[in-house]
């Protein structure tokens, strides 16, 4: 009987195991091999013959001195550093408004999570339209200020990144709101009531009772957004294509460009592997820390 289960378990997990191997191990070995060569799809030879263009660690030393790579990484960090905290605070603020019942709660909830459902590429196109110099955002701002303004948001190197961040915040604040609201609902109500009876004000209740109980959930919400924000591509690429110049070039956009325009796949492989290694170390470190607490 026991053996029967183990056999069935193995068979049931086999397809998933094969798929994971197929997408991780094989491509990784391929990346490792290509990253040690100058191979490009334009080379005219199959990637298996890449050894003919062996360059040992040249790609890896190149990436240390690659200014564009480092500024793309810095830009990605800036997007994460601005978007994730803003999304978190807005999401948390909205979630606290939903802690008790009020007329229209369900409808408001359904509408507020809508942006998250929009296909990111379509959201990118929405904001592309909104940020046109003759578009609605300038129109609204003109009405607020009282005189017409025509800011070219997406073609101004100083403003394009801001526009991209606005789109990201619009789309993903609902995710924070959704997760944090679910977390707030899990805080035991009698404890809040007891604290109220003991004379704790709303702020004090929030800091001493609600926040400590939401630590894990806040951690999960932030982790999810940091990971997804690091990969940011769709909305941004539709809005600006990484431009003007390299003003909105994040790490995914940079790799996309050198992979599809410069076609230096040996170098792409080196960058990809470096990122995978750093991310894996960070992931293991984070999981160890989480296990400790």
């Amino acid at each position: 009987m026991k053996d029967d289960g183990a056999k069935l378990g193995f068979r049931l997990t086999l397809p998933a195991q094969v798929l994971v191997l197929f997408i991780s191990v094989f491509p990784l070995l391929m990346q490792l091999y290509i990253s040690l060569t100058d191979w490009s799809p334009l080379a005219g030879t199959s990637w298996t013959q890449a050894w003919a263009m062996w360059n040992t660690f040249a790609n890896y030393t190149d990436l240390i001195y690659d200014q564009r790579l480092w500024s793309a990484l810095g830009r990605t960090a800036l997007v994460i550093g601005v978007c994730v905290p803003v999304e978190f605070l807005l999401g948390l603020g909205l979630a606290t408004l939903f802690m008790d019942d009020f007329p229209g709660k369900r409808a408001a909830y359904s509408i507020l999570i809508m942006p998250m459902m929009v296909v990111p590429a379509v959201a990118g196109y929405m904001f592309f339209m909104l940020f046109q110099s003759g578009g609605p955002i300038n129109d609204i701002l003109s009405n607020l200020i009282g005189h017409p303004i025509t800011v070219a948001w997406l073609s101004d190197p100083n403003l394009a990144l801001l526009a991209v961040m606005v789109a990201d915040i619009w789309q993903w604040t609902p995710l924070m709101f959704l997760i944090l609201l679910a977390g707030l609902a899990g805080v035991p109500e009698d404890q809040i009531k007891a604290a109220t009876l003991l004379g704790a004000g709303p702020v004090q209740r929030f800091v001493t009772i609600v926040l400590p109980r939401m630590k894990t959930i806040i951690g999960i919400a932030l982790a999810i957004r940091v990971i997804e924000c690091f990969k940011i591509f769709d909305t941004l690429f539709i809005m600006t294509g990484g431009g003007p110049g390299v003003a909105t070039e994040t790490i995914s956009v940079y790799i996309y460009k050198i992979a599809t325009q410069d076609l230096i796949w040996g170098y792409v492989a080196a960058i990809a592997l470096a990122i995978l290694i750093v991310l894996s170390i960070a992931c293991v470190w984070a999981l160890k820390r989480m296990a400790r607490t």
């Binding site: 183990a6 397809p15 996309y256």
Partner: protein
């Protein structure tokens, strides 16, 4: 009393603002989709918020029937890209759900494949761009490039973590007594899974499948890399709706964007209950 009232007023003020911010971009696109060309952009005069002469021309244009007002004719209509999106996202969902559900059951009941939870989270961690070049090489070798099934296979793997984690939490939550009773009756374990567990899990399976479908439907980058012409999906096709000849075809793009936006919003409402569980890999149940 007055403080409570002030709080209520403040709450509604904030909510109305938030709802307006959430809706305006969507409504602007919806409005654009029904605007005739002269209203696409502000020409000196004020902006057109609500179409003055609403028209279905933009929809007709992308489906290739009416082009009298637009100078350039499209070399292909939006029909095939919509079909490509449906087929690739659909088959991708089937692949992810089949592999994910069976693996989740194997782990939840028999403890098999204990490496999978971490391996699948890691899969989610990496930027797709970092693993796509080898996939492009393999796909070219297998003749999978620019086919809907080639795209679907990648979708299936990319969304496998969500299918697996969602189904694992559903199986973990399920009471084991019924399965045990069937085992005592002499049912084999495989039969219990197929004839008893799966039919009982129909509702969770459907929610998980819809969730995975939304994720697949939302992709842009993978389709951009793996399809070139025949089987481009909606977002890739949408980007091609502008050229130096015609400029930005605002209305046509908005019409297509509206079509692309409908399935996730409708399906999302259907599975609202399970959204949090899905998005947090089952770490949080609503």
């Amino acid at each position: 009393m007055t403080r409570a009232l002030a709080f209520e007023v403040l709450r509604y003020l904030i909510l109305v603002t938030a709802i307006a911010v959430a809706l305006v971009p969507i409504l602007w696109m919806a409005s654009m989709a029904f605007k005739p060309i002269p209203e696409w952009q502000a020409t000196g005069a004020a902006l057109t918020w609500i179409p003055k002469a609403p028209t279905l021309d933009n929809f007709r244009y992308i489906f290739g029937t009416s082009t009298n007002e637009l100078i350039a004719t499209l070399d292909r209509t939006a029909v095939k890209p919509i079909l490509a999106s449906f087929l690739a996202a659909g088959l991708g969902t089937v692949i992810a759900m089949t592999a994910g559900t069976s693996a989740a059951y194997g782990l939840s009941r028999f403890g098999s494949g204990s490496n999978l939870p971490l391996a699948l989270v890691q899969l989610r961690l990496f930027p797709p761009m970092a693993v796509m070049t080898p996939v492009m090489i393999m796909w070219a070798f297998l003749n999978f490039t620019d086919t809907w099934w080639g795209l679907a296979l990648v979708y299936g793997i990319v969304t496998l973590p969500f299918a697996f984690w969602l189904m694992k939490t559903f199986f973990d939550d399920m009471p084991k007594e019924i399965e045990e009773a069937a085992l005592v009756e002499g049912c084999s374990r495989a039969r219990v899974f197929w004839r008893i567990t799966l039919p009982m899990m129909r509702a969770p399976l459907a929610s998980a499948a819809l969730f995975v479908f939304i994720l697949n439907w939302s992709d842009y980058l993978i389709a951009l890399l793996l399809t070139t012409r025949e089987w481009v999906t909606i977002p890739v096709y949408m980007a091609s709706l502008s050229s130096s000849m015609t400029g930005q075809l605002y209305g046509a793009k908005a019409a297509l964007g509206l079509i692309a936006a409908v399935p996730p919003v409708v399906l999302g409402v259907l599975i609202q209950k399970h959204l949090v569980r899905g998005l947090t890999f089952g770490a949080l149940k609503q």
